[in-house]
């Protein structure tokens, strides 16, 4: 493993961390306004598309998927994994400092563990080199 990341690549990883968690939170808030959807009221899904929270949430989740795939094009899955898990920390901190919800000691320990996991891999090489495999892959055209 020899790869080190550029500043723009760290920016992509920060996008992965923030867009998924904020997007999910916006979708959750929007769907709470729309109301419960079941098989007999599927029309509400169409109605949900006109909710600004749902729209902004969908846009952020599209950005998440794009930045996640971009990250996987130059980094290992096990390197990107802690970035996706950091979304849990973002949601917990948003609920504590924005929604003023109470966080239990267990959740604070969980936040500490996930943040430590990000720290373990953040400064390590991002990608495993497979010279033979990469040449073989480029010839397959996949």
């Amino acid at each position: 493993m020899t790869h080190r990341l550029k500043a723009s690549q760290y920016a992509i990883l920060i996008c992965v961390m923030l867009t998924a968690s904020v997007g999910d939170t916006l979708l959750s808030r929007g769907m709470a306004q729309v109301g419960p959807v079941d098989l007999h009221h599927l029309g509400l899904l169409w109605h949900a598309l006109f909710n600004p929270f749902v729209d902004f949430g969908i846009i952020l989740l599209i950005f998440f998927f794009a930045s996640y795939m971009t990250a996987l094009s130059w980094a290992d899955l096990t390197f990107v994994m802690p970035a996706t898990a950091f979304g849990y920390v973002v949601v917990a901190l948003l609920s504590r400092f924005w929604l003023h919800e109470h966080l239990s000691v267990y959740r604070w320990i969980g936040i500490l563990l996930i943040t430590s996991a990000v720290g373990f891999v953040a400064n390590s090489p991002s990608r495993t080199e497979h010279p033979g495999l990469d040449v073989m892959d480029s010839n397959t055209g996949l």
Binding site: M69, L77, T78, Y88, A92, I111, F120, S124, T128
Partner: protein, 133 residues
């Protein structure tokens, strides 16, 4: 107390949803690795320059199978939530997915999962359970 058949059904659902997520993420990671740095596929300027990378991703069969697994994972998750409480399903599936991803990345993607990454994976698995409580 949960009946033994209920326990088997609950954990079968959890393992099935996690297995779909692991398959999807590993296939998408394999497809992205084969395509290489997406920035190098950009041609031209402005928004049009993204057509190259988008076309390359969408024409990769491995990516399409991975995306299908992720879509099936979404519907399997919805089905599971109709049977199991979110307070059990979310931490169990999240935790299993991280551990399974590390094992699958080592076995199938031949990633160098060293001691530092195993430690990070175990911290994530426990951390996700605690945060979701």
């Amino acid at each position: 107390m949960m009946h033994s058949s209920t326990i088997v059904r609950t954990w079968s659902c959890i393992v099935f949803v996690a297995a779909l997520a692991i398959s999807g993420e590993c296939l998408i990671a394999a497809a992205m690795r084969r395509l290489g740095d997406l920035d190098r596929l950009r041609t031209g300027t402005g928004l049009r320059s993204y057509l190259g990378p988008i076309g390359a991703v969408l024409s990769s069969p491995i990516f399409l199978i991975g995306a299908l697994c992720m879509a099936l994972n979404f519907f399997a998750m919805l089905f599971t939530l109709s049977l199991i409480d979110l307070s059990l399903a979310a931490p169990a599936i999240g935790s299993l997915t991280y551990v399974g991803n590390a094992i699958a990345a080592k076995l199938f993607l031949h990633e160098n999962v060293d001691r530092r990454r195993w430690l990070a994976t175990s911290f994530l698995a426990v951390g996700v359970v605690l945060v979701s409580r």
